[in-house]
């Protein structure tokens, strides 16, 4: 992401917009500036802000006058008055930042937007997690902190030692050079992203070990984590296995994503094969 210094008027509207806090007004040049090492190329500034296309010289003059007289004025807080942001072409390894951080960019490994896969959202038509099995989405970096792939690798290596399966179509699994050890591509390890999701599956009896491992590794890596844990319900919609286990392990959960089970296979070829 770039800010065109010829257009920027240093209004600072973009400063609080950045989820990573990577934008600041540099007093040396009096322009908004991006800390490129912290920027994750998410596009919140470029896409999230509305744009005006005002004359920069005119805006700077008005701002200078208002500043001199100590006027406080109330522009809309989510507007770039001169459309100063420019999304530049990126190459690997930096491109990986945009692929993981920008929600409207599609992952080639999954064919869907977002950092994860279909998870149990389509478990009713594409069974991934069966009864007695558990699926996990281990998310790093969100909200508002970000994560480097080196830290994600710390987690994937620790998880690989447990009796688990990495979800094959997950974007982070796609970046592994060795799934048996959880090792990621070396060229991306220093890249920072807004958020990444590791997806694994295990048997029910591995839940405690997985949760303990995630918690222990999180102590060593400087980011936040959020775990989603899923299972297939019984015939009456009941969950008599995972929910009681989580309660026994002392986990409180307030929120869930619930597959209502009304999906079905409708593609012609699939129906014929069935």
């Amino acid at each position: 992401m770039l800010i065109n210094p010829d257009k920027c008027v240093a209004c600072a509207n973009c400063v609080p917009v950045c989820p990573m806090g990577a934008i600041y007004v540099d007093p040396a040049v009096n322009r908004a500036t991006i800390n490129q090492d912290e920027c994750v190329e998410c596009g919140a500034c470029f896409r999230g802000m509305s744009q005006e296309h005002l004359n920069p010289t005119m805006v700077r003059t008005v701002r200078a006058l208002a500043k001199f007289f100590r006027f406080r004025f109330e522009p809309e807080p989510d507007v770039c008055p001169t459309a100063a942001f420019e999304m530049n072409e990126l190459a690997m390894p930096r491109l990986i930042r945009r692929v993981f951080s920008d929600p409207v960019v599609e992952h080639k490994s999954t064919g869907i937007k977002g950092r994860g896969t279909e998870e149990v959202k389509t478990n009713d038509v594409n069974p991934r997690v069966g009864i007695g099995e558990v699926g996990y989405t281990i998310e790093f970096g969100r909200p508002g902190v970000g994560v480097r792939f080196r830290d994600i690798q710390e987690m994937t290596r620790a998880l690989a030692k447990l009796d688990i399966v990495f979800e094959a179509k997950n974007p982070i699994s796609h970046l592994m050079t060795d799934k048996s050890s959880g090792t990621l591509r070396a060229d991306i390890l220093d890249e920072k992203i807004l958020s990444g999701i590791v997806e694994i599956r295990s048997a029910l009896d591995r839940v405690e070990a997985v949760c303990e491992t995630v918690s222990a590794v999180n102590e060593r890596i400087d980011t936040v984590t959020a775990v989603g844990i899923s299972t297939r319900c019984g015939e009456q919609g009941e969950d008599k296995s995972l929910a009681p286990l989580l309660a026994d392990l002392g986990f409180a959960y307030e929120r869930a994503k619930t597959n209502m089970g009304i999906g079905r296979v409708t593609n012609t070829q699939q129906k014929e094969a069935a």
Partner: protein
């Protein structure tokens, strides 16, 4: 759509937060999915949603050529038709409701339409279960959020977290949520204006401006 799972708050705080979304599975039910997603969104639009999205844009959308007069009279009306018209390829279509009754009525109509797409509800555990039971169906699968673990003390207070985590892709920054909170407290913006501002940053349309408005109103009356 893990982006709808991890929202900060206690279960009671999700009484006005029900996200209903449909998603096709490539190779299994994605034939004709675009039209089905549009039909899904049309059904949702009939039940007074708080927001809707098609994965590329929400019903609150930033403008690329804003007229300067917007600083005095900026519209904050959701654009349902734009969201429906701009479904271009199979993906996720979502609608946010501010009550269980609306989510339930919507799901009933979606079941009747028999689209064949997987339909999920992100809400409190009990809230989603009650919707399923009232509609006469059984949950197929469930994914619980175990919440955020922050051993290094990065996260801000609960008001900021509740506002910012409603965009699960992290597009609503802590600082922007804090700024809106301050502007509301200082009387510089109405809660509905601040909520619409935050919603415009969420390209998936799953940000709940009605819940945000309530949270901002609650925050106005007390200090953080």
């Amino acid at each position: 759509m893990t982006n709808t799972l991890h929202r900060y708050g206690k279960a009671a705080s999700f009484d006005d937060d029900y996200i209903v979304f449909c998603i096709p599975s490539p190779g299994r039910n994605d034939e004709g999915a675009v039209e089905k997603q549009k039909q899904f969104l049309r059904i949702c639009a009939r039940h007074d949603p708080a927001n809707m999205g098609n994965g590329n844009r929400g019903s609150f959308k930033p403008e690329r050529r804003l007229n300067p007069t917007a600083h005095w009279r900026r519209g904050a009306d959701p654009d349902w038709e734009g969201v429906i018209a701009e479904v271009k390829k199979p993906g996720t279509a979502a609608a946010v409701f501010d009550s269980r009754e609306k989510a339930e009525a919507c799901l009933r109509d979606v079941i009747e339409a028999d689209l064949g797409l997987s339909v999920n509800i992100s809400a409190s555990v009990e809230g989603a279960q009650e919707v399923a039971e009232c509609c006469g169906i059984h949950r197929h699968s469930v994914e619980y959020s175990l919440g955020f673990a922050d051993p290094h003390d990065h996260l801000p207070n609960s008001q900021i977290l509740q506002l910012s985590t409603m965009c699960g892709h992290g597009m609503v920054s802590f600082n922007m949520a804090r700024k809106m909170l301050d502007m509301v407290r200082e009387g510089r913006r109405a809660p509905e204006q601040a909520a619409a501002t935050l919603a415009r940053f969420c390209p998936c349309g799953v940000y709940n401006p009605d819940r945000a408005k309530r949270l901002l109103e609650e925050a106005r009356r007390r200090t953080a």
